[in-house]
């Protein structure tokens, strides 16, 4: 377990965590403001990735394709909100879970009808190789780009939410929806906007992770659950909580998978460690989530003061 390996895996964890943050940020606002469980959020991530793959192919440029996929996915998200999700806000959580679960099936099949089961999307050629980060430590240039994009979006999001008028309205909506409405905020329109914004973030995550994880139908389903883990840990409705939770989940998951089997081998027989190590690594983040829910159900950074 060399230092360089730890450093490398930490960067991988950060990279994954930042992409989780992009997914969780939209999800937590939807959850926080409208008290709505949206399982179809992962579908927008998938749609974003497919749109990006198509547009990259059409334009011949990775950057241009990804940039174009962002407003396109935002439009899909807003359409979805106006057409279906809007009617679900007043319903109970059970109905929301079921309706958005139905949307997952519908969107999966629509994507399959339009694009087929998967699409090729590869990192731009210039970034395909590694760069020498430290002496003796090469690191994937593309993953560095993901980290850069993730950090840039996080800073931008922080600026929008804390410094602009629209961000103020979003925070007002998240901390007390009724009061915000009483003060004259057009929650309905605000929410369509927030939803489109969340979809745009999904597109960035889908497009950036596409070359690493493969663009295929069903790609949103597992990562969606991770995004829920993130927002529950961070505190529902809190952007800051989503960032902390996402980096925590990304780090714990990546480092756990890389090192827990090795660490266990120090204490246990190799056969037993080999069997239990991967399980423990996969379970760790859910243990953290259950612990947070048990001891601090409002999350690490509660949005409602």
């Amino acid at each position: 377990m060399s230092l360089i390996l730890i450093l490398e895996q930490s960067l991988n964890g950060l990279q994954f965590g930042l992409m989780l943050f992009l997914l969780a940020a939209g999800l937590t606002l939807v959850f926080g403001i409208m008290d709505m469980i949206n399982l179809a959020h992962g579908s927008l991530y998938m749609v974003g990735a497919f749109l990006a793959a198509t547009l990259v192919q059409a334009t011949g440029s990775f950057a241009l394709g990804v940039l174009l996929s962002i407003p396109a996915t935002a439009a899909v998200g807003m359409l979805l909100e106006v057409a279906v999700l809007r009617t679900l806000y007043a319903r109970d959580h059970l109905s929301q879970v079921l309706a958005t679960f139905a949307l997952i099936l519908i969107i999966n099949e629509l994507v399959r009808m339009i694009w087929g089961s998967d699409m090729p999307l590869s990192a731009p050629g210039a970034l395909a190789g590694p760069v020498q980060l430290l002496p003796g430590m090469p690191y994937s240039a593309y993953r560095l780009l993901i980290i850069g994009v993730g950090l840039a979006v996080a800073v931008l999001l922080y600026f929008v939410v804390t410094k602009t008028r629209i961000g103020m309205l979003v925070r007002a909506g998240a901390s007390n929806r009724e009061m915000a409405m009483a003060m004259g905020v057009d929650i309905k329109r605000l929410f369509t906007l927030v939803f489109g914004f969340g979809a745009a973030l999904c597109a960035i995550a889908g497009a950036m992770l596409g070359p690493i994880l493969a663009v295929q139908v069903g790609m949103g389903e597992n990562i969606l659950i991770l995004a829920f883990v993130v927002i529950v840990i961070g505190g529902i409705g809190s952007i800051r909580g989503a960032l902390v939770g996402a980096v925590l989940v990304g780090m714990v998951d990546t480092l756990g998978r890389a090192f827990i089997p090795q660490i266990l081998r120090e204490f246990l027989t190799p056969a037993f460690a080999g069997a239990i190590g991967p399980a423990l690594a996969s379970i760790l983040i859910y243990l953290i989530m259950a612990g947070v829910l048990f001891w601090r159900p409002q999350g690490l950074f509660p949005a409602r003061g």
Partner: protein, 321 residues
């Protein structure tokens, strides 16, 4: 009136394999067993969703634990259903006891999320069970044995066993929800604080209901593993929990037969869309059979949006008119 209807339906269910044998369509017997197994799983979840008001998003964990327990018993050379199935129920029940004891201390959306978290843990545990197939799953060399000259390999026999267990479970639940215990659980759903105030230990009642639902889910899992002669972590995936919830709401939340209606509705719809050519749909979109889940999704969405009472709600409304 309702009793007469129940008896007629039961007689039809008993006659079904004989009729199918007569017209040489035994494929439908296998399918009917599958529907009945899912009906049992959905009914056990309905106990939580409908009667207890506990929105558990992790029921597949109990079904899966039962399925794995029953399968492992067969793989280890103890195929007797008299040992394997009660053990499956016990394992799922104990799991429900542990998960419920922690989860039931949370409320509302946090309960949904914590049950999901625990189900994910069990999912990854089964993935890592390399000795029993891990990711690949476990193929059973035989079905469980029940003795007395019956052979579960015979699909009609298996059907009757499943039917008997389902009817038994439904009878048990119908007695239970109208007994003192069931009344208390339903009252807690309506107003937990008030029930606490007049002296009922709400947590204990909810936990018992949770364990009971887990045990019935485990039994359904044991049956499912035998039905497929195969088990893999896929049956613990969170989308399976979602599917069971869909069945409950499609059939009717809090209705005795909600789970049964839902299983028939959902699996029947899947079957019809995937395996039967419907002329006008084919004219509309030739490859529609490959995208049968689209139809399932649209139907589900329509039910949630326009018929929140589910299939049972249709019957209920008719009776009141």
């Amino acid at each position: 009136m309702q009793r007469a209807l129940t008896i007629v339906v039961l007689l039809l269910a008993v006659a079904f394999p004989i009729a199918m044998q007569a017209i040489d369509q035994t494929y439908y017997v296998t399918m009917a067993s599958r529907i009945l197994v899912y009906a049992l799983a959905a009914t056990s979840l309905n106990l939580l969703l409908g009667y207890g008001g506990m929105i558990s998003f992790g029921h597949a964990a109990f079904v899966g634990a039962g399925a794995y327990t029953a399968s492992i018993m067969i793989a280890e050379g103890l195929p007797s259903a008299w040992i394997g199935w009660p053990l499956a129920m016990a394992v799922s029940g104990l799991l429900a006891l542990a998960i419920g004891a922690i989860s039931l201390r949370t409320r509302g959306v946090y309960f949904i999320m914590i049950t999901l978290a625990f189900a994910q843990m069990i999912y990854y545990l089964t993935v890592s069970m390399k000795a029993y197939g891990g990711d690949e799953g476990l193929t059973l060399t035989q079905r469980a044995t029940i003795g007395f000259g019956f052979d579960l390999k015979d699909d009609a026999t298996f059907y009757y066993v499943v039917l008997t267990l389902l009817v038994g479970a439904l009878y048990l639940i119908s007695r239970l929800v109208n007994a003192r215990f069931g009344r208390v659980v339903q009252a807690i759903r309506e107003n937990e604080a008030r029930m606490e105030a007049i002296g009922y230990p709400a947590f204990r009642y909810k936990l018992i209901a949770f364990v009971l639902a887990g045990m019935l889910g485990g039994l359904a899992g044991a049956l499912l593993a035998n039905q497929n002669s195969y088990v893999n972590p896929g049956i613990l995936h969170w989308t399976e929990s979602g599917k069971l919830m869909i069945m409950v709401i499609l059939g009717g939340v809090g209705h005795l037969y909600g789970g049964v209606f839902g299983a028939i509705g959902l699996l029947g719809l899947e079957e019809v869309l995937a395996n039967h050519k419907i002329a006008w749909l084919a004219a509309l979109y030739p490859n529609y059979q490959q995208h049968s889940l689209l139809g399932v999704g649209l139907a589900m969405l329509a039910v949630v949006l326009y018929a929140p009472q589910g299939i049972a709600g249709i019957f209920r409304r008719k009776r009141h008119d």
